[in-house]
Symmetry: D2
Subunit: 103 residues, 4 copies
Amino acid sequence: MHVIVDLCLVPIGVGTSVSSYVAACHGVLEKAGLTHTLHAYGTNIEGPWDDVMAAIKACHEEVHRLGAPRIHTNIKLGTRTDRKQRMADKVESVRNKGTSKPS
Amino acid sequence: MHVIVDLCLVPIGVGTSVSSYVAACHGVLEKAGLTHTLHAYGTNIEGPWDDVMAAIKACHEEVHRLGAPRIHTNIKLGTRTDRKQRMADKVESVRNKGTSKPS
Amino acid sequence: MHVIVDLCLVPIGVGTSVSSYVAACHGVLEKAGLTHTLHAYGTNIEGPWDDVMAAIKACHEEVHRLGAPRIHTNIKLGTRTDRKQRMADKVESVRNKGTSKPS
Amino acid sequence: MHVIVDLCLVPIGVGTSVSSYVAACHGVLEKAGLTHTLHAYGTNIEGPWDDVMAAIKACHEEVHRLGAPRIHTNIKLGTRTDRKQRMADKVESVRNKGTSKPS
């Protein structure tokens, strides 16, 4: 089961600057060999369900290890059986519908 | 690693009535033996990380099996290392702060 | 436009205990006269779009005023034009599909 | 109050292809003059709270008008009083922490 995920992990109890923890998560995803893209409010990841979920767990473990006593995470997650779809396809599909010239 | 989750699974491509799919997920959670509570916009679940994640995967598999070609899921997920906290504690903690008589 | 919302507001930069801020939000919702229900991972609210959104803004203002320098909020939000649905209907609808005896 | 938002609007009851509705929302955001960036699992938007929220409401109205009887939307939303931060800053901040060479 292929999954496309939007991951947003918020460390709590470590002050207001959370970017170093997000960077650590990117290291985890990199190491896991998963396709991932950083955006302004999270990270998109795609791959086999078990691999993606194992990486998310590893992110939590790493962020706790780096000192965050509490983590709040949001995940958006899509699966489909009707056809294969990659992250790039989703963006392309909207662009082809003409975002610049909506009806 | 104990996790508290808010799960909201939205089947896409099966019309506007989604309650039978949500009910099927509750069967999956029940079978998994996990503590879970239905609310008006999702289901709260708690337990060991791997068990909860395995159950969420089983929900996706079951909802696809029941005919939904596409699923969009939201997960809120909390872990903490500073102390044990159960779902009931979270509600209790807010109530003790006096929701009825806020300053 | 009637809306059903799941609101989860996370104050950042005020330590790991966030329940007093959540309690303050409940005061805001109470004062706004909106139907709302606390659950283990958020608060469900329903009402006219503008009233609910004004209350969410007032929650942000109040939590900043109480000292949180940063807030991360998750909102799930549902609208429908096919029929009226209340929060209680959603729970009832799943229950009637037989969560205890899924196929 | 400046807000950074991740918006993910899911039309329900219109089949599995939702990209034309997402494209219509981009038209709404474009018309509102708000900074917005499409990614693989949503759209990031930033601006004054009231303007962003008015645009999200206009998206719901437009998607219903285009025929979707039901909409499920996820919003992640961040505000802060400690300093000004733009969407581009958030991505930059993580990159500067060295995502390519995590410890």
